[in-house]
């Protein structure tokens, strides 16, 4: 027997997955805009953010409607609560992609610094976390979600290393201050994307297991 609620949840799932795809595309484009110094691509990311914001509101309205009409319990309730929370994380990741895109535009307008920062490892780590978090959501995969949660520390380390390197470069090449500040911001925004991916993964674990692993992933698993 298909319940009305199942149909609503199916529709909500489609909405969230659509939003996830948009957010993922935005982050990838923002990263490419930095890598390739492409202000047009960066502007596209900034423009797309409005669509992401609108889709976030639609998902939230859908969640609230289902909560009010069906008063779900157990797995249905956990699913809705998780979606409600990770919906905000997706929207925030969209904002952060927009921030990175703004920095890409700034970088494109400036001369290249004497010693550019190699963002390769950090881009790869952030993309990996985002891919992992979204895959854990699509496949409802607790194991994958836990891997994402554990990998956040590595991204934090890369951010700290960038911070130290940029600080030194500013001292060594004070004329490069402006592009280096853009780099600093790119690094910081990537690190924040990792945090939101962790939140999403934690919500997936809650949805599947009914356990809140936030702040205590190692003691719980």
């Amino acid at each position: 027997m298909t319940r009305h609620l199942d149909r609503e949840i199916e529709r909500l799932k489609e909405g969230v997955l659509g939003l996830s795809a948009l957010v993922e595309e935005s982050v990838y484009r923002a990263i490419r805009a930095v890598e390739e110094c492409d202000p047009a691509l960066a502007q596209l990311v900034i423009d797309e953010d409005t669509t992401i914001d609108q889709r976030e509101v639609l998902v939230e309205e859908e969640c609230l409607k289902i909560l009010a009409l069906y008063q779900p319990v157990a797995i249905d309730l956990r699913f809705l609560v998780a979606i409600l929370k990770l919906n905000s994380d997706l929207e925030r990741i969209g904002d952060l992609a927009g921030n990175i895109a703004s920095r890409a535009k700034g970088l494109a307008a400036l001369p290249r610094p004497t010693e550019p920062i190699d963002f390769g490892p950090m881009f790869a780590a952030a993309k990996g976390m985002l891919r992992g978090a979204l895959a854990s959501l699509v496949e409802l995969d607790t194991k994958r979600a836990l891997e994402v949660i554990r990998s956040d520390e590595a991204l934090d380390d890369l951010n700290r290393a960038n911070y130290r390197a940029i600080k030194q470069l500013i001292k060594d090449n004070p004329n490069d201050l402006d592009p280096l500040l853009h780099y600093l911001s790119v690094s910081r925004n990537l690190e924040r994307i990792g945090d939101h991916c962790t939140n999403i993964a934690e919500d997936v674990v809650y949805m599947m297991e009914g356990k809140i692993v936030r702040h205590r992933v190692d003691e719980a698993w």
Binding site: M1, R3, L5, V73, A74, D76, L77
Partner: protein, 260 residues
């Protein structure tokens, strides 16, 4: 965990072990072991015919009224095995009151409905009876609505008021345990809310075991919930946990409306 369970001095007031019940050749309860703690609200949920009402009625031996019923197992209520030969049934039912699905006031005045039980138990003093009637109606949150018409027929009250009158009538004989068999299923949402508030007020002072088809009601009013299916007890848990993260797949399917 329900607050009542954490308090000092809380103990098992009802303890059922390996209970089996048959109606003729049909087995309605299978090896049920379940306890209720002092002052808690225990909700029994499950699809129709799952045995939850049969279980409830074993707790004050109301099933004895059905000739084809056979019961095996142990039901300890307030330290006494109630299926033991020497049990005084009137006294058992005074301690363990029952409120039915449909309100069933006697065709008497409001006052006499409440005074009926105490009179049967030998109370004849008017002043005592007056006190019991007022106190019981106050506890059932009905006093303010009926205090000026105590001699009017109880049948003139609304459905919700009649159900609260029945609760007051059950309280009048000073029970320790209250059994409620879908007490709000025939009431409108407002009267239902009143009954639920009343359960909240009585919690702690009385142990309440309630059968309900309304799962949101079980979630709202109870400390613990027991899920029955096909005569078996499938899962018992703290209500907030059972409704967010049930351990058993059958429980999950039932409470999310996937079957039953």
């Amino acid at each position: 965990m329900g607050q009542a369970l954490k308090k000092e001095g809380v103990h098992e007031i009802v303890s059922v072990a390996d209970l089996n019940l048959w109606y003729g050749s049909h087995q309605a309860l299978r090896s049920i072991s379940l306890s209720a703690m002092t002052g808690e609200v225990l909700a029994l949920i499950g699809p129709s015919g799952c045995g939850k009402s049969s279980f409830l009625r074993t707790l004050n031996r109301m099933n004895d009224l059905i000739p084809i019923v056979r019961v095996e197992g142990r039901v300890i209520v307030m330290g006494q095995d109630i299926y033991h030969d020497g049990v005084e049934l009137a006294e058992l039912r005074r301690r363990v009151g029952l409120v039915f699905q449909r309100s069933n006031p006697f065709p008497k005045s409001i006052y006499d409905n409440i005074a009926y039980g105490p009179r049967i138990h030998g109370e004849r003093r008017r002043s005592e009876l007056d006190g019991i009637v007022e106190q019981s109606l106050r506890r059932a949150d009905l006093w303010e609505e009926v205090k000026d018409r105590l001699s009017a027929s109880a049948l003139g009250l609304s459905g919700g008021q009649q159900q609260r009158l029945c609760i007051a009538r059950a309280l009048a004989v000073r029970p320790t345990i209250l059994l409620m068999d879908e007490p709000a299923s025939a009431l409108d949402p407002r009267s239902t809310a009143k009954i639920e508030e009343l359960i909240g007020m009585l919690r702690g002072e009385y142990t309440i075991v309630i059968v309900t088809h309304n799962m949101q009601q079980a979630a709202r009013v109870s400390d613990r919930t027991a899920f029955f299916c096909d005569g078996s007890l499938i899962e018992t848990g703290v209500t907030s946990e059972l409704f967010t993260n049930p351990r058993n797949a059958q429980t999950q399917d039932y409470i999310t409306g996937r079957f039953g």
